[in-house]
């Protein structure tokens, strides 16, 4: 039987304010998950070891943790697979990131739930209920298929780089739920949701690090949902309402007028108020040749692009 060292983050605020690490040796069958291993340790070696879990079947989303730094569902990750992946006999187990620990592997999820609630993650239909159910075509439901699979495990939140820099960022999971309802044909709040999700710490704060798509154990692809919310914001007339939206708008204007990014347009369009006051930085950039010509480049066959921009319809 294989033996594995589990180097676990410990935090027992009842006895000490200091977190520490503890290494456990566990002899086990070949096919054991990280959650199984932790529960065995709890049962056999240290009853105070705290972990949050429920279904053990990758459905409830309770047991997310970091194994050798990578956020996983503990019940979905085989100990031997993790060891093979990292080429090590030791697995470091830590609580998920971007949260404050409460006890050992259990974190304070309150900010996560508060943000989840803030996106109104429920259907708000228009008008009174119809006599029969609201029918949705297969095609329309298909658009929400991925986002509907979210189990709120917070694996995406754990490694979101925007959140690490800005703890108020609403985060990938909440925004994925936002799209799940903003994109639902039965919902009557598309315009209101577009506004709700695109203020400070919302859609335009996503830094596109792609960790959420990489880590989601359910293939929700929260970044793609955030992108679709941006598209909905544009459809709902919010393309000039935020620096982030105007940044994207500048790309569209550049595309139509030359086919390539017009960097000279990008800065003042994103930040019309602040840009003029950032003169020292602008001068430094100019001195180093970083300010491109204000005359936009024009690609060959630009007409094709302009026609596409006129013709292509969005289907978010």
């Amino acid at each position: 039987m294989p033996t594995t060292s589990l180097d676990i983050f410990r935090y027992q605020p009842d006895t000490s304010d200091e977190a520490y690490r503890q290494t456990f040796e566990l002899e086990h069958e070949g096919d054991i998950t990280i959650l199984d291993a932790i529960l065995r340790l709890q049962d056999e070696q240290d009853g105070s070891l705290a972990v949050r879990y429920s279904c053990r079947s990758a459905i409830c989303g309770s047991c997310a943790c970091r194994a050798n730094g990578k956020t996983v569902l503990a019940c979905m990750s085989q100990v031997e697979d993790v060891k093979a992946e990292f080429g090590t006999e030791t697995i470091q187990v830590d609580p998920i990131g971007n949260f404050a620990p409460l006890k050992d592997l259990i974190v304070d999820l309150d900010p996560f739930w508060d943000k989840f609630k803030s996106v109104k993650p429920y259907l708000i239909p228009d008008g009174p209920a119809p006599e029969r159910e609201r029918l949705v075509s297969k095609e329309d439901m298909q658009k929400l298929f991925r986002e509907s699979a979210c189990i709120l495990c917070a694996a995406c939140y754990s490694e979101c780089n925007s959140l690490s820099a800005d703890p108020e960022f609403v985060g990938p999971a909440a925004l994925a739920w936002g799209y799940r309802f903003a994109g639902d044909v039965r919902d009557g709040q598309r315009k209101e949701r577009a506004k709700l999700y695109t203020g400070d710490h919302g859609v335009w704060d996503c830094t596109r690090c792609m960790y959420c798509n990489e880590r989601c154990p359910k293939g929700v692809n929260p970044r793609d949902a955030i992108e679709k919310l941006g598209g909905i914001a544009f459809q709902e007339g919010r393309s000039l309402q935020d620096g982030g939206a105007r940044h994207a708008k500048a790309f569209l204007v550049s595309m139509r007028t030359g086919g390539k990014l017009n960097e000279t347009l990008l800065v003042p369009m994103t930040n019309p108020v602040k840009a003029p006051f950032d003169l020292p930085f602008a001068l430094k950039m100019i001195r180093h040749g970083k300010a491109p010509s204000p005359i936009p480049h024009r690609i060959q066959k630009l007409k094709e692009v302009q026609t596409l921009m006129k013709n292509v319809k969005e289907t978010i």
Binding site: N161, S164, R208, G230, E304, L308
Partner: protein, 294 residues
């Protein structure tokens, strides 16, 4: 015969970071690569057009792929963001014949060539970090980096999502390390090498972005790096052009020269420094040139 590619430098390398384009063009013949221009190619949209008009993003990127198909060559990029946008569009239409048909209908209506889904998109780093690529470097002889301590900085979009990128394990990338070592440099390793530089939101949310770049800048400094190298001109802008701002915002000093990947190779292979145009960097690279002995 040289390997031909449809060369897609991306907007930043063509305009504000010309030094990257210049160096790549100077490097290509040494690596037996012929870079064919794409005069009708647009911007990839950098994730911004995808965030405003997703169908338009897809159509515009497929149009670029189709141009490479017409030239009968694969696309070579030198930017993380372009690589992701083009590869993602390629994957979407290659895996969904009906979607490709819809996109092609639009392309044909606009007078553009439809795409058959036969081309690939690769980044210069990927091309060189294979056995065949490294042997191209070896052929150039021994000049090397003279033990320069280089912090590899991958950024995000050349690694993630791995379902689209797929060249290497996004959590344990090694391609830059392989190149640094092959060129006679030393790797200054640090944890944040694949964390975000913050560039996509640097204009709209500057203070958040500067906290993001701080992580890799401070860690690479603490790892004793002489410089950082990146395969992405957007990461370069965040790490180099905005470095002083990041220092002020985070109350620390990094003093970290940042090289574009082709510049690092160029230094090792003896491309002249005027071509690599280090004057265009905001953080001086003097200590790098001194160590390499240029």
């Amino acid at each position: 015969m040289a390997t031909q590619f449809a060369y897609y430098p991306g907007c930043i390398a063509e305009f504000s970071s010309k030094e990257l384009d210049q160096t790549t063009k100077a490097l290509a013949p040494l690596l037996d690569i012929e870079l064919l221009p794409m005069p009708a190619a647009t911007c990839c949209g950098a994730g911004d057009i995808a965030e405003a008009k997703p169908n338009l993003y897809l159509t515009l990127n497929v149009r670029i792929l189709s141009q490479a198909e017409e030239m009968d060559v694969d696309i070579l990029t030198i930017c993380n963001v372009c690589t992701l946008n083009l590869r993602r569009a390629n994957k979407m239409v290659k895996e969904d014949a009906r979607l490709l048909e819809q996109v092609n209908e639009e392309l044909v209506k606009a007078g553009a060539r439809p795409y058959e889904g036969t081309k690939e998109v690769t980044h210069l780093l990927w091309y060189l970090a294979t056995e065949a690529g490294l042997s191209l470097l070896e052929k150039q002889g021994p000049r090397g980096l003279n033990g320069l301590r280089v912090a590899p900085y991958y950024g995000c979009q050349l690694l993630r999502p791995s379902s689209v990128m797929g060249f290497e394990d996004p959590d344990k990338p090694q391609s830059l390390e392989r190149l640094i070592t092959a060129l006679g440099g030393e790797v200054a390793d640090y944890e944040a090498k694949s964390k975000c530089c913050g560039f996509p939101i640097i204009l709209a949310r500057e203070q958040v972005a500067l906290k993001e770049s701080h992580v890799a800048l401070s860690q690479s400094r603490d790892a004793g790096a002489d410089c950082m190298v990146t395969p992405c001109p957007l990461c370069h802008l965040a790490m180099d052009a905005y470095q002083r701002k990041a220092e002020l915002a985070n109350g620390t000093e990094y003093n970290m020269p940042v090289l574009h990947l082709p510049q690092l190779i160029g230094l090792a292979l003896g491309i002249d420094t005027a071509t690599m145009d280090f004057k265009r960097h905001l953080v001086p690279v003097d200590r790098v040139l001194e160590t390499v002995g240029v």
